[in-house]
Symmetry: C2
Subunit: 383 residues, 2 copies
C-alpha cells in the first residue's frame, strides 16, 4: 500500500481516502490510476483492532449507514440496525461503511472526472465487478491499518460483497452475515436489470452516458428503471396489503392516465425521488456488476482449494420467505456447500411478507439473530 491520503469532509460529514498512482487493476484488466472512496466510521476501534465490522451497502445505498445523511437530510439507510445499543452496537464495535467503487455518493464513479483535464468519465468509466468493489474496500482497510475484520455484513448486493470477501480474503475476516443474497444473479434478475438499463439508455437525454457534457440528465429513464426495480423489492402480498386496488385521492376512476391507484402514485414518487439522489450511469454500472456475479460453479472448488484458510470463518446466512428476488432456495445453495465442507454455518429463514426489502425494514427476528451472532462470536474471541 502506498500513495493514499485521508481527507475529512465536514460538509458531506464523511471521510475520503484518495489513492493516487496506484495502478489498481480491475477484473476487466483496466488499470485505475487514481480513485477515491468515501466512507464513514462509527464507534471506536479497540486497541487490538479486533472489533471492526465492515457493512456493505446494497445497489442504491451509501456510506451513511446510520446517523443523518447530509445529502438527503434523512436517517441513514440502516439506522434501525446500527448505532449505540442497536443490534450492531457501536458501543462495542467499530463500524466502517464505504460507498462502493462506481457509486455516486463520493466514491469514484462515472460522474467523476477522469483526469485533470476536467473530463467526466460518463460512459467511459471502466466496467466494474463485485470483486473490484471488494478489492477497493480491502485497500481502504489497508489505509485504515486494519488487518482483520471481525465481520462483514450486507444484504442484497451487500451480501454479494460479503460472500466475495470470504472468497478473496478469508484470512482478513472472522465472520460474515450474508442477508438475502445468492451465489449468482439469476436469469430473471438479469432480465429485470436489463429492462431498467434499456429504459435509461433509451432516454434521449442519456447521450451514450455522456449526459454531463450535454448538460442533460436521463431522469425519465432512471425513474422508470427505479420503478421496475421497486416492484421486485416488494412481495405481492406486501403490495396488496399496502395498496390493494385502493384509489388515489378520488372516489371514482378518472378514465385517463393519471395515477388512479395508490400503487401508481407510490411508484411514480419512488421514481421521482430516486432521480434526485442517484446517478443514471452508476445505476448502469452497478446493476451490471450484480449481473456478472456468479460463483455457482466455482464456489465449492474455491472453498476446497483454500480449505485451511476459511475454517475459522463463522458464516450466518439469512433469507426471507417472501423474497422472490433472492429467494430462500438460492441462499440455501450457499448453506448446502458450506455444510458439505463442514464449515461453521448458521442459516435462518425469516417468515415475513415484506419481500426482498425486509432486510431494510422492521424485522425483529433479523435484529435479534444479527445481535446474537455478533455478540456470541465476540465473546468467544475475547475468552
Amino acid at each position: 500500500m502506498s500513495n493514499f491520503k485521508i481527507i475529512k469532509d465536514k460538509e458531506l460529514d464523511c471521510n475520503f481516502v484518495d489513492f493516487t498512482n496506484v495502478d489498481f487493476k480491475l477484473e476487466s484488466g483496466y488499470l485505475l490510476n487514481n480513485y477515491r472512496l468515501a466512507y464513514k466510521t462509527f464507534g471506536t476501534l479497540n486497541q487490538n483492532k479486533t472489533n471492526a465490522i465492515l457493512i456493505c451497502h446494497a445497489l442504491t445505498g451509501d456510506q451513511y449507514v446510520t446517523g443523518k445523511n447530509p445529502i438527503t437530510g434523512r436517517d441513514g439507510w440502516w439506522s434501525r440496525m446500527v448505532g449505540p445499543n442497536k443490534p450492531i452496537d457501536t458501543n462495542k464495535f467499530f463500524v466502517i461503511c464505504s460507498n462502493v467503487l462506481g457509486g455516486c455518493a463520493g466514491s469514484t464513479g462515472p460522474k467523476d472526472k477522469k483526469d485533470s483535464n476536467e473530463n467526466i468519465y460518463g460512459g467511459e468509466f471502466p466496467s466494474i465487478t463485485i470483486k473490484d468493489i471488494v478489492d477497493a474496500q480491502a485497500k481502504l482497510l489497508d489505509a485504515l491499518k486494519i488487518d482483520q475484520l471481525f465481520s462483514v455484513v450486507g444484504g442484497s448486493m451487500g451480501a454479494m460483497q460479503a460472500l466475495q470477501w470470504s472468497i478473496d480474503f478469508p484470512n482478513r475476516i472472522k465472520s460474515i452475515i450474508h442477508i438475502a443474497g445468492a451465489l449468482k444473479h439469476s436469469a430473471q434478475n438479469i432480465a429485470f436489470h436489463e429492462v431498467g438499463r434499456q429504459a435509461i439508455m433509451n432516454d434521449s437525454n442519456w447521450h451514450k452516458g455522456n449526459y454531463s457534457e450535454e448538460k442533460t440528465v436521463p431522469e425519465r429513464g432512471l425513474s422508470v428503471a427505479r420503478m421496475i426495480a421497486h416492484i421486485t423489492y416488494l412481495s405481492e402480498d406486501a403490495m396488496h396489503r399496502k395498496f390493494g386496488r385502493k384509489l388515489q385521492s378520488r372516489d371514482i376512476i378518472s378514465f385517463g392516465f393519471d395515477a388512479d391507484f395508490q400503487i401508481e402514485s407510490y411508484l411514480r414518487y419512488q421514481g421521482r425521488s430516486f432521480v434526485e439522489r442517484f446517478d443514471a450511469n452508476s445505476y448502469l454500472y452497478l446493476t451490471r456488476a450484480m449481473d456478472y456475479f456468479d460463483h455457482s460453479e466455482s464456489y465449492r472448488k474455491t472453498l476446497e482449494f483454500v480449505n485451511d484458510s476459511n475454517n475459522h470463518i463463522n458464516y450466518l446466512i439469512i433469507s426471507f420467505t417472501s423474497d422472490w428476488l433472492f429467494p430462500t432456495r438460492e441462499n440455501k445453495e450457499i448453506v448446502k456447500i458450506l455444510n458439505n465442507l463442514s464449515k461453521n454455518v448458521s442459516f435462518l429463514e425469516i417468515e415475513t411478507d415484506k419481500g426482498h426489502d425486509s432486510f431494510l425494514l422492521d424485522e425483529p427476528e433479523l435484529d435479534k439473530v444479527t445481535k446474537g451472532f455478533l455478540e456470541s462470536n465476540y465473546r468467544k474471541t475475547n475468552e
Copy 2:
C-alpha cells in the same frame, strides 16, 4: 341495431363492420358515434346458428387467431388451438375473432381518424374498459345476426372478456372457457402495467399521445414496456431453463452494456419486434382497461341478482401452476363463487413451468380439456 355496413378487405384478409351514427355509450359516458371492428370468421355457421364460438384475444393479440396473419406474415396467434380437426375444430364450429375496440389491428383505436377532418385520435381517444370491448363484440354479433354464442373463449385479457360476457350477456352465451384470468387485476399487475405506461409516456417521442401529428413514434418507450411485460409472461423456471446465465455469442463477458447474456438479447428482440406491430397508445389504453377490471366485490351479487339467466351456462376455468401474473388462487376465486351458487363449473389447474404464456404454447392438457369441454357440451346441445 342499425347503421352498419360489412366490408371485406382482401389485402388485410379480414372483414370490417362499420357502425355509423350509433351513439355507442362507453362506460366512461363518452359517446362513440362511428367506429369499426375488424374481425375474421372460420368454419361455417350452421342453420340453427348454434355453433358460433367467439374467441377473445389477449392484450397484444388480434383477429388473426389462426391461418396466416398478413401483417406479420406469421401463423395466427392460436393456430395451434383453432382450425380443422384442432381442439377448437372449425369443421364443427363457426369461430369469430375480432380485434378489440381500442386495438391497432383494424378496429377503431387511438391511431385512427377521429372525424372526417383527418384528425387522429391519439391521446384524445376515449378511455375504454373490458365492458366496452365486450359491448362492441355484442354489437358485432347483432350485425352477424347471431343471437347466442355456443361459447366465449379467452386467455388473460381474453379471459376477462369471457367473464364479462357471462356477466353482461348471460342469455347470449351457453358456455365460457376462461383461461388464466382473475376477478380483478392485482396491485402487482397494475404496478407492472404502470411502469410500462411510464416508459411510453416518458419517451420524448410520445408527445402526449399525439406522436402521429409529430411524425414520430415512441418506439423506445414501447419497447421497454414490452420487455417488462414479457418478463411477467414467463415463469422464472422457464426463463432459467431457456436462458440460464448463458452468454450470447461470446465466450467471455464483454465488460460493457452490450447484450452479454442470452436473456438480454432475447428481451431486446422482443421489444424491437413488438414496436413494428403494435401502437403505443393502444398499449396504454388496453393496459388501462385491464387495470380497471374489477369484479372482486360485485361478482357474487351480480350472479345472485341474475340467477335464473345464468343457470344454463357451463363454465370452464383453467389456470397454470407457474403463472404468477394470474395465479391459480385468483382463478379459484371465480370457481369458489360459482360453486357456492351451484353453477355448472369445471376447474383445471395445469402443471407446467411455462408461466402465464402457457395458454399460447404447446400444452397438450389445455388442448385436450378445451376440446373435451366444447364437444361434450355440443353433443348435449344437439341431443
